[in-house]
């Protein structure tokens, strides 16, 4: 091993150096703690054998310094001492010494001490290698998750701006990928189908289910019960919810979901939707300039066999807005005050910006209600979807 011998007494240095060389080690020497510290910066040593009392920097202080420094590999520290007594011993341990050896050095003792040093250093090496491997795996998973987040984001729909409607949304998962999702599609020119979903739990397994539903619900036409056309859509949301409930309960997943699923009829200017355990949606009525939190409750999907669903109906006119969101927002303290962004406080926050456009509202939420720091480490997935009727 490569050993640094630190002693202010020249004869002691020479004796120790001689013994260590005899044992087959590579030895350098330093005349005090400061000298040793300088030498430790220049080359890599595995073991330091240091005298206790020295001028400039003593053995205890040198040891403390070594322990606090970010050396790449562990340095085994042996304090040489002529001193005895419990207090000295404790001081040495507290400074981070691994071993003590009596002065003057004795070859038999040194050999034994160095053998245990060898053992500890090997253990440290193995540990360091394992940590390195773990770090590598961790980085790979991290990178995978970043890629997955991008994939998930790329599946979300573009903002709408048609002759009938405008939409805007905010989506931010708690840990890269999330169990929240939403989508909308137009089966014909006068109809828009949409859903906002929150899979219970968060993380990878929730995200996988959420992605699968997000991309497949538009095509699982069996769930809709009949063609998505004007004559059927008024009851369709509850039928859809009932069928999805059966599908999820019949599957092998432990997850369930909350949802608002709706169909917008632009010709009749009517919105049909079902509330399945999702937070109360918010409605802005432009004509009366009022904001309403719609206090409608409903069974989640995939939680309970006996669930019954009801379709809600609402007429809309120019400038009205419909806001749906997952419960993730309510676990955050608002940067604007009032505590958590849950029921009453959340309503108040929306009331302040009720006349803003959908897009401005989304901007307000992501930049003013929540700080950058909050957005970076959300306790739960966050999604807000806003429709603005033209």
């Amino acid at each position: 091993m490569k050993i640094l011998v630190v002693d202010d007494a020249r004869d002691m240095r020479m004796v120790t150096e001689h013994l260590l060389k005899k044992l087959g080690h590579e030895v350098s020497t330093a005349v005090d703690g400061e000298d040793a510290w300088a030498k430790l910066q220049e080359a890599e040593y595995q073991v330091v054998i240091s005298d206790w009392v020295m001028p400039n920097l003593d053995g205890i202080e040198l040891c403390k310094r070594v322990r606090n420094a970010p050396f790449e590999r562990y340095i085994y520290f042996i304090l040489l001492t002529g001193m005895s007594g419990k207090k000295n011993f404790i001081n040495g341990i507290e400074a981070g010494a691994d071993e003590f050896a009596t002065k003057p050095a004795d070859i038999g003792e040194l050999e034994v001490r160095l053998r245990s040093a060898q053992r500890v250093l090997e253990l440290e090496d193995t540990l360091a290698q394992k940590n390195k491997a773990l770090q590598k795996a961790h980085n790979r998973i991290q990178q995978d998750l970043v890629n997955a987040e991008n994939t998930q984001l790329s599946l979300l729909p573009e903002f709408l701006d048609t002759e009938h409607i405008r939409s805007s949304w905010l989506y931010k998962p708690a840990i890269y990928v999330g169990g929240d999702t939403f989508n909308y599609f137009a089966p014909s020119a006068d109809i828009l189908v949409f859903f906002s979903i929150d899979i219970s739990g968060h993380g990878i397994s929730s995200a996988m289910l959420s992605m699968s539903l997000q991309s497949s619900l538009a095509f699982k036409r069996g769930l809709y019960g009949s063609p998505i056309s004007a004559e059927y859509i008024a009851d369709m949301p509850s039928i859809f919810a009932g069928n999805l409930n059966k599908m999820l309960l019949g599957g092998s997943t432990d997850h369930y979901l909350t949802m608002i699923f709706g169909i917008i009829d632009f010709k009749e200017k009517e919105l049909h939707y079902v509330q399945a355990g999702h937070p109360h949606p918010i409605w802005f009525d432009k004509a009366t300039n009022t904001l309403e939190s719609i206090p409608i409750n409903g069974f989640p999907i995939g939680l309970y066999e006996g669930a019954v669903y009801e379709t809600q109906h609402r007429s809309f006119s120019h400038g009205d807005k419909f806001i749906v969101y997952s419960d993730g927002i309510s676990e955050n303290e608002s940067a604007l005050g009032g505590g958590l962004l849950d029921m009453e406080n959340l309503y108040q926050h929306f009331a302040e910006i009720k006349q803003s456009s959908a897009e401005e509202m989304i901007g307000e939420i992501s930049t003013n209600w929540l700080t950058k720091e909050q957005m970076k480490s959300l306790p739960d997935d966050l999604s807000v979807l806003i429709f603005e009727f033209k």
Binding site: S200, G277, L303, Y304, A307
Partner: protein
């Protein structure tokens, strides 16, 4: 996750001595409850009065516990308040579970029906 169980003559009372029941403890909660049920406690008052927060995962776990009670079992959920009670209502689980406001009311429930 700490559950406290006290056995009475006609029922067992399980208290959740936590303020949060969320995804990080939901599996453990479910597991401990299933063990309690498997040990023969199928007349249970679940005291959740100390809970101030419950998320969707833990609601799912609580429904699983209800299902594990079996047809002969009875589960009374006691002391839901604030956001926890709101969650039961929002998801209509207040219609699926028997909710009572405190232990006294829960006791009466067993006295009347057992």
């Amino acid at each position: 996750m700490k559950l406290n169980i006290v056995k009475d003559t006609t029922f067992s009372m399980v208290s959740i001595n936590e303020s949060r029941l969320d995804a990080s403890v939901a599996p453990e909660f479910k597991q401990q409850m299933e063990k309690i049920i498997a040990d023969g406690n199928n007349q249970v008052i679940l005291d959740i009065s100390e809970l101030t927060f419950m998320d969707s995962s833990s609601l799912g776990a609580t429904v699983a516990v209800l299902k594990a009670m079996g047809p002969q079992g009875k589960l009374i959920v006691s002391g839901a308040s604030g956001g926890v009670l709101d969650l039961f209502k929002l998801t209509r689980m207040d219609q699926v579970f028997t909710l009572v406001s405190d232990i006294e009311e829960a006791r009466e429930y067993f006295a009347e029906t057992v």
